[in-house]
C-alpha cells in the first residue's frame, strides 16, 4: 500500500517536472512577431520570388498624427522553393514572420501560367496559415509591385485588398472572393475548373510606391480588381472581362447583389438593383447527349429611372421592365457561355458537377471526356425570371413632369 503510494507519487512528480521542463516552447509575445498581412509569389527566371507585406502595428495604431514611417514594410526573397524563400527572409526581417493573419495572397500571371498547385500545397500544409485569406492573380504587374502600392484610408494595403474584394464581391459581383479551400476544390474537381479574381495596378506605379500616393485627395495609383482569371486545372489560360465575369457569377449562383439597366422605349435607361438571385442548374440527357437547363431567378428594386413617360403605378409597365431585363440577362449569360465554350474550352461554370448530380451514372462514363468533347458543344437552355419587388421611395419619376 505504502509502496504503491510512493510509486504513484514518483510518477506524478515526474509528470509535473516533465511539464515544467518542456518550458514555454510555443510562447511568442506580441512584440516578437512580424505579422504578415499580404504575400505574393512571382515566377522569375524559373525561381520563386516571395514578397511579404508585414504590418508595423505601432504605425497602424499610432494616434500622433502622420508619422514618417510607412504602416507596413515589404520583404522579398528568392528561392527554388517558397519555403526556402520564406526562411531566407529572416536574413532581412528583425522578427520571425507570422502568417496566421495573412489577408491576401497574390500570384502574378507568369506564376499562374506555370501552375499554382505547387504554391498552394505549402499554404494548405503549414499549420501557421489560417485558410481564410483571399487569393488573386495580378494582371499586368507582378505581385511584388502590387504589394508596394500605398493605399489611402486603409493604411495597410493588404487590408484594403481584403476589404475591397469582400465589398465588391457582395455588391458589384464582377470580382469574386476565392479562399484557399475553394480554389483547391476547383483544381481537383473534374466537373468544374477554378477562376480567380484579377488585380490591376492603375496609374503610375512609381508614384504608387511613394508616400505621395496617399498625401493628396487624388490618388494617382490604385489597386483595382478587374475581371476573372480562367484556369484549366491549376494553370491560367485566359481572362474574362467585367461583363462576362458578372454573367459567370450569375450562373454560379453566388451573386448577392448587383446593378443592371434596361433601355426605355424613349431615350434613357431604367436601372434595376438586384437584391436576390437564385440559380438552378439541371442536367438532362437528350438523345444520350447531355444538355443543361439554367434557371436563374432574380429579384430586384427599381434603382433609378432616367427616362420620362414611364408609369410605374401600372403593373404592365413593371412587367415590361421585367421582360426587358430578362432578355438582357439571358443575353449576357448566353454570351459568356458561348465565349468560354469557344475561347477557353474549359468548364469553369460547374456544368459538369451539375450533370454529375442529376445523372451520376452517365457522368461516370463521360467524365474523362467532359472538357474536350462534351463541354464545348454542350447545349444549354437559359431561362431567366426577373421580379421587381419595389420601386424605391417614390412611384413615378419626376422626370415625367419635366417640361422641356
Amino acid at each position: 500500500m505504502n509502496r504503491r503510494k510512493k510509486i504513484l507519487a514518483m510518477i506524478l512528480l515526474q509528470t509535473v517536472i516533465a511539464l515544467l521542463l518542456s518550458s514555454c516552447w510555443n510562447r511568442r509575445e506580441l512584440n516578437e512577431l512580424a505579422i504578415a498581412v499580404g504575400a505574393g509569389v512571382d515566377w522569375v527566371d524559373n525561381q520563386y520570388r516571395l514578397s511579404v507585406q508585414v504590418a508595423i502595428p505601432g504605425q497602424v495604431t499610432s494616434k500622433r498624427g502622420a508619422s514618417t514611417q510607412a504602416p507596413a514594410t515589404l520583404y522579398t526573397a528568392e528561392g527554388d522553393t517558397i519555403f526556402e524563400a520564406a526562411r531566407r527572409m529572416t536574413q532581412i526581417s528583425p522578427r520571425k514572420i507570422y502568417f496566421s493573419h495573412l489577408r491576401i495572397f497574390l500570384m502574378d500571371e507568369a506564376m499562374a501560367r506555370e501552375g499554382v498547385a505547387k504554391v498552394l500545397d505549402l499554404l494548405a500544409r503549414d499549420h501557421e496559415f489560417r485558410p481564410d485569406f483571399y487569393l488573386a492573380i495580378t494582371k499586368g504587374t507582378t505581385a511584388e509591385e502590387a504589394l508596394k502600392i500605398m493605399t489611402p484610408m486603409e493604411t495597410i494595403p493588404a487590408n484594403k485588398l481584403f476589404n475591397s474584394l469582400q465589398i465588391s464581391d457582395k455588391s458589384w459581383s464582377s470580382s469574386m472572393v476565392v479562399t484557399l479551400d475553394e480554389l483547391i476544390n476547383g483544381i481537383t474537381s473534374t466537373g468544374k475548373h477554378p477562376v480567380l479574381t484579377g488585380l490591376m495596378v492603375t496609374g503610375d506605379k512609381k508614384i504608387g510606391e511613394d508616400k505621395k500616393n496617399v498625401e493628396d485627395i487624388y490618388t494617382p495609383s490604385q489597386l483595382q480588381y478587374s475581371g476573372l482569371a480562367v484556369f484549366k486545372f491549376d494553370k491560367l489560360i485566359g481572362w474574362l472581362n467585367e461583363k462576362d465575369s458578372r454573367g459567370y457569377r450569375l450562373i454560379r449562383g453566388d451573386v448577392k447583389s448587383s446593378v443592371g439597366y434596361v433601355s426605355c422605349r424613349n431615350k434613357g435607361k431604367v436601372v434595376l438593383e438586384t437584391l436576390r438571385t437564385d440559380t438552378k442548374l439541371k442536367g438532362r440527357l437528350v438523345d444520350s447527349r447531355p444538355e443543361l437547363d439554367i434557371k436563374v431567378s432574380l429579384e430586384g428594386n427599381i434603382g433609378s429611372v432616367e427616362c420620362s413617360g414611364l408609369d410605374l403605378t401600372e403593373p404592365s409597365t413593371i412587367r415590361q421592365l421585367e421582360v426587358d431585363m430578362e432578355e438582357k440577362v439571358t443575353k449576357i449569360l448566353e454570351d459568356v457561355i458561348d465565349k468560354v465554350q469557344t475561347e477557353h474550352k474549359v468548364d469553369i461554370f460547374g456544368f459538369g458537377e451539375a450533370f454529375h448530380r442529376s445523372h451520376p451514372k452517365t457522368w461516370k462514363r463521360i467524365e474523362q471526356e467532359w472538357d474536350d468533347r462534351y463541354f464545348t458543344s454542350l447545349v444549354t437552355h437559359v431561362s431567366v425570371d426577373y421580379k421587381i419587388r419595389g420601386t424605391g421611395t417614390t412611384n413615378d419619376s419626376f422626370l415625367n413632369d419635366l417640361k422641356e
Binding site: 515544467l20 514555454c24 509575445e29 506580441l30 512584440n31 502595428p57 504605425q59 495604431t61 496566421s100 501557421e128
Partner: protein
C-alpha cells in the same frame, strides 16, 4: 446568623449551611459557602479587585440582623433594572433597606424575599458555585448573596450599550429588508424569531471558549432540518477546545470539513432574512455572541453566488442577474489568464484588427504579458486592501493614486499596455459582483495559478487548471453535503433555483441532500387568471 433563623422557619431548605461537612467541602471546593464575608473576599480576590465590579452590602431586617450583598458589573448590567427590579423589591419586602427609620424595618422572610425578586425579574438562576457566579456576573447579571445561605441568585439584568439594529453594511440590497444583525446574541435570535413564528424553530445554546465563555447558539427548524446534520453540528461544536472565540470565524475554522481549500464551506451572513430563508431550506444557523455574522451550514457553492435580493425581485430579473453573476465570476477567474494565453500562444485566434491594436500597444513594453499581468493584479489587490482598511475620508486619496499612478502613468511610462489595464479592471469589477466576500477572494486567489498556467502552456494550461479546479470542487463537502450539488450530483429539481430562479410558485421542493425530512415546501399552483 439571624437570617438563618428566618430561613429555618420557612422550611425552605433542610441543608445546614453553617456546618458543611468536610467531605462535601472536599468534593466541591468551588461551592458557595454560607459566610457572606468569606464569599465576598473570595470573589474580590478572584476578580483581582477589578474596579468595574460593584459590590453593595446591605443590612436588612428588623434589627439589621441580616446581611445581603448585591453584585454586578458596572456597564454590563442595566442600572435601571437593578434599581427597579431588585432594590425596590428588597425595600418592599423588608420595609426599608437603608434602615434610616428603624421602626419601619420589620422582620422578613428570606424565602419571600427570594420569591419576590424572582417574580420581578425575567431571568432568574440559582447559583451554587463560583464558576457559575462569575459567568453570570461577568455576563451582566446581578448576583444576590445572603449571609448564611450557601446559594445565590442571579437576576438577569443584562443591558449594555450596543449598536442596536442597524442597516446592512456588507450585503446591501435594492429591495428587501435593511436590518442587519448586531453584536448581541439575544438581539440576533430575536431578529430571526421575528421572521419565523413557528414552535418548531428550536435553539440550543452553549458556551465555547475556556476564557471568553462565548455564548454560541444553534438554530434550526425541527421537522425540516436533517437530524443527522444537527447531530454533526453539535458534535463538532462540542469538540472545539480553545481559549477564545471572538468572532464566528473562529468557529468556522474549527468546524469546516476540509481546511486545505480556498473555497468557503461555511456560509456567513449579516442578514436575518437570509438566515430565515436558509433555515426554511433545512439548514442550521450558528449564532455567536459578539459578532453580527451568523454562520450557516451546510453551505453549497451555489449559495455563495445567490443574493438575498434574488428572491425579492421578480423571477426574470433575478435570473438575469444570476446569469450575469455566473458570467462575471468566470471573468474574474479567467480574464487575465485568457488574455495571456491568447496573446502569447494563440495570436491566430484574434481578429486581425484587434491583433494590430494589441501588438501596437505592446510594441514598447519590456515585460512578457504574464509579468505585466501579475504586476497589475498585485497592484490592484494592494489598492483594494488599502481601501478596505483606510478611514473613509482618506479612501478617496487611494482611488486618485490608483487611477492616476497605476492607470495612466504606468501606461504612459510604457511599463503596462493599455489593454492589460482594461483586462485587469474588468476582472476586478467582475470579482466584486459576487455577493459573498470570501467566495470572491477565493476566485481572486485562484486567478494567479491560472495565470501562471496560461503563461506556460497557453489555453491547454488553462483547461488543465479548470479541470483540476473542478475535481477539487467536486471533492468538497460541507457537513456531508456535496459542495457542488445540485450540479454534481445533478439534481434536476434543484436546477430551478441555481443559475435561474424560477417563480416562487414553481419552487415547490426544498433542496435535496440538505434536508431529507420534509421535502415539500408547499403545494401550490400558479396564480390563476381571473375569469372575468
Amino acid at each position: 446568623m439571624v437570617c438563618m433563623r428566618n430561613r429555618r422557619s420557612t422550611n425552605h431548605s433542610s441543608q445546614n449551611n453553617t456546618n458543611d461537612t468536610p467531605q462535601a467541602e472536599a468534593k466541591n471546593s468551588d461551592a458557595l459557602k454560607g459566610s457572606l464575608k468569606e464569599s465576598l473576599d473570595h470573589i474580590q480576590a478572584s476578580l483581582g479587585h477589578s474596579t468595574d465590579i460593584v459590590i453593595r452590602e446591605i443590612s436588612i431586617g428588623a434589627e439589621k440582623e441580616c446581611q445581603i450583598a448585591i453584585l454586578y458589573t458596572d456597564g454590563l448590567a442595566d442600572p435601571k433594572m437593578i434599581s427597579d427590579n431588585i432594590m425596590m423589591v428588597i425595600a418592599d419586602v423588608t420595609g426599608s433597606p437603608i434602615g434610616e427609620n428603624p421602626e419601619q424595618s420589620r422582620s422578613f422572610d428570606s424565602h419571600a424575599l427570594w420569591e419576590q425578586i424572582a417574580a420581578f425579574n425575567q431571568e432568574i438562576q440559582t447559583i451554587h458555585d463560583y464558576p457559575e457566579l462569575f459567568h453570570s456576573l461577568l455576563s451582566g447579571d446581578t448576583i444576590l448573596l445572603m449571609d448564611g445561605l450557601d446559594q445565590g441568585m442571579a437576576a438577569g439584568t443584562r443591558g449594555w450599550k450596543d449598536r442596536g439594529v442597524t442597516e446592512t453594511s456588507a450585503e446591501n440590497v435594492v429591495r428587501g429588508p435593511r436590518e442587519a444583525f448586531s453584536e448581541s446574541l439575544r438581539t440576533n435570535t430575536a431578529l430571526i424569531r421575528r421572521k419565523i413564528k413557528d414552535p418548531n424553530l428550536w435553539m440550543e445554546t452553549k458556551q465555547i471558549g475556556r476564557i471568553t465563555q462565548t455564548d454560541v447558539a444553534i438554530m434550526y427548524i425541527n421537522g425540516i432540518v436533517n437530524d443527522k446534520i444537527v447531530e454533526e453540528v453539535r458534535a463538532r461544536l462540542q469538540r472545539i477546545d480553545v481559549d477564545s472565540i471572538l468572532e464566528s470565524g473562529y468557529i468556522e475554522e474549527f468546524i469546516q470539513d476540509k481546511t486545505l481549500t480556498p473555497f468557503p464551506t461555511v456560509y456567513n451572513t449579516e442578514r436575518p432574512d437570509v438566515v430565515a430563508a436558509e433555515l426554511l431550506e433545512g439548514k442550521i444557523a450558528i449564532i455567536v455572541d459578539g459578532t453580527p455574522f451568523v454562520l450557516i451550514v451546510p453551505a453549497l457553492f451555489v449559495s455563495f453566488l445567490h443574493a438575498a435580493e434574488d428572491y425579492y425581485q421578480r423571477a426574470d430579473i433575478s435570473s438575469f442577474l444570476r446569469i450575469l453573476r455566473y458570467l462575471s465570476i468566470s471573468i474574474s477567474l479567467l480574464g487575465p489568464s485568457l488574455y495571456i494565453a491568447v496573446t502569447t500562444f494563440h495570436q491566430e485566434m484574434l481578429p486581425t484588427q484587434l491583433l494590430f491594436g494589441l501588438a501596437g500597444q505592446r510594441e514598447q513594453i519590456p515585460f512578457p504579458a504574464f509579468v505585466e499581468a501579475v504586476f497589475m493584479e498585485v497592484t490592484f489587490e494592494i489598492l483594494r486592501e488599502a481601501g478596505v482598511r483606510l478611514p473613509k475620508n482618506i479612501g478617496s486619496a487611494i482611488s486618485i493614486v490608483g487611477t492616476l499612478v497605476i492607470g495612466q502613468a504606468a501606461v504612459e511610462a510604457g511599463i503596462i499596455s493599455p489593454a492589460m489595464v482594461i483586462v485587469v479592471s474588468i476582472t476586478a469589477i467582475s470579482s466584486f459582483v459576487v455577493p459573498s466576500f470570501n467566495m470572491s477572494i477565493a476566485f481572486r486567489m485562484l486567478r494567479f495559478p491560472l495565470m501562471a498556467l496560461a503563461a506556460s502552456f497557453g489555453l491547454y494550461g488553462i483547461f488543465v487548471g479548470i479541470i483540476a479546479l473542478m475535481l477539487h470542487l467536486c471533492s468538497l463537502r460541507s457537513f456531508g453535503v456535496p459542495y457542488l450539488s445540485p450540479f454534481a450530483p445533478l439534481i434536476p429539481e434543484g436546477q430551478k433555483d441555481t443559475i435561474l430562479r424560477l417563480p416562487h410558485w414553481l419552487l415547490t421542493k426544498r433542496p435535496r441532500l440538505v434536508n431529507q425530512n420534509d421535502m415539500t415546501r408547499k403545494i401550490s399552483s400558479p396564480p390563476r387568471k381571473s375569469r372575468e
